[in-house]
Amino acid sequence: MENEEKMMSGEESLRIITEMINRTKVNIRQGSFHLLFWGWLIFACSMSEYLLWKFSDFTHPYYVWFFVIPGVIVSMVYGFTTGRKAKVSTYGDMLYMWTWIGFLIAATVLFIVHSKSMQTVASYILLLAGFPTFVSGFIINFRPLIIGGITFWILAIIIHFAGPSVAPLGVPVAMLTGYLIPGYMLKYKVDHDKV
């Protein structure tokens, strides 16, 4: 595009507009990091809690959830530094980021108001987490994430009605279906399609 004053046909104008708009897609590179990081962190916390509860005499197995606090810091630092390096910020990027920040705030409020009955919080957390996962899938046009969000809601119902011996395994299963499987598929897509 060197001859800036060159006259164009209508078709050429339309081609330029279409080509440029298609280049401003959501940056999904960051997305796979957060999905895999949180997928593995929550998977490890929920499995550890379950194993401690089932096979040890430890009286406070839910203490493992304190690992979420440094997780939030790591995630925010990564997001902030990657965002600063980005040469462009699309509306989709902003929507993606604020959807997850909104979830983080809602989850924090839930933990505060629900702190006295933590054994039932899992289904509510999955209910909440399903929403940003589902919406993010549409923002980046990635079907496995949409399906992942739906599995959160299905598992929230199962956890609610299942017995106490089954319910603790609901969160690790949700991490596999909602974060880890879509996360690795997204990583594969980013690495191979160079998006």
């Binding site: 595009m1 060197e2 001859n3 800036e4 004053e5 060159k6 006259m7 164009m8 209508g10 078709e11 050429e12 104008s13 339309l14 330029i16 507009i17 080509e19 440029m20 708009i21 280049r23 401003t24 600063r84 040469k87 462009v88 910020s89 699309t90 509306y91 990027d93 902003m94």
Partner: protein, 101 residues
């Protein structure tokens, strides 16, 4: 080419149209990003960005990041309006006899 005289002359140029089409889909974009996406030279891009800025179609902010200058571009509400009008005019041209389609 006279049939295009009714189209906005600020937008009806390859590079300026490309810049505005890029900015319409983003919140903010760095100068280097626009240069990469359009394939234009820095000098030419700089001239066209200045023209768009003077017309009020885009805002240009200069900052420093890690001691390096950074030029950020963002489309204005006037730019969005003019781009929308340009698209309408273009549709009229491409579909003569069906105004606004």
């Amino acid at each position: 080419m006279t049939r295009f005289k009714e189209l906005d002359p600020i937008l009806h140029s390859q590079l300026r149209l490309a810049i505005v089409s890029l900015l319409i889909g983003v919140d903010v974009a760095e100068f280097t990003y626009i240069r990469e996406q359009t394939g234009a030279t820095a000098g030419n891009l700089s001239i066209q960005i200045t023209k768009l800025k003077e017309a009020g179609y885009i805002e240009v902010t200069k900052k420093f990041r890690n001691n390096y200058p950074q030029t950020l571009c963002k489309i204005t509400s006037l730019g969005i309006l003019r781009f929308s009008e340009y698209i309408t005019d273009l549709k009229d041209y491409l579909n003569p006899g069906i105004p606004g389609k």
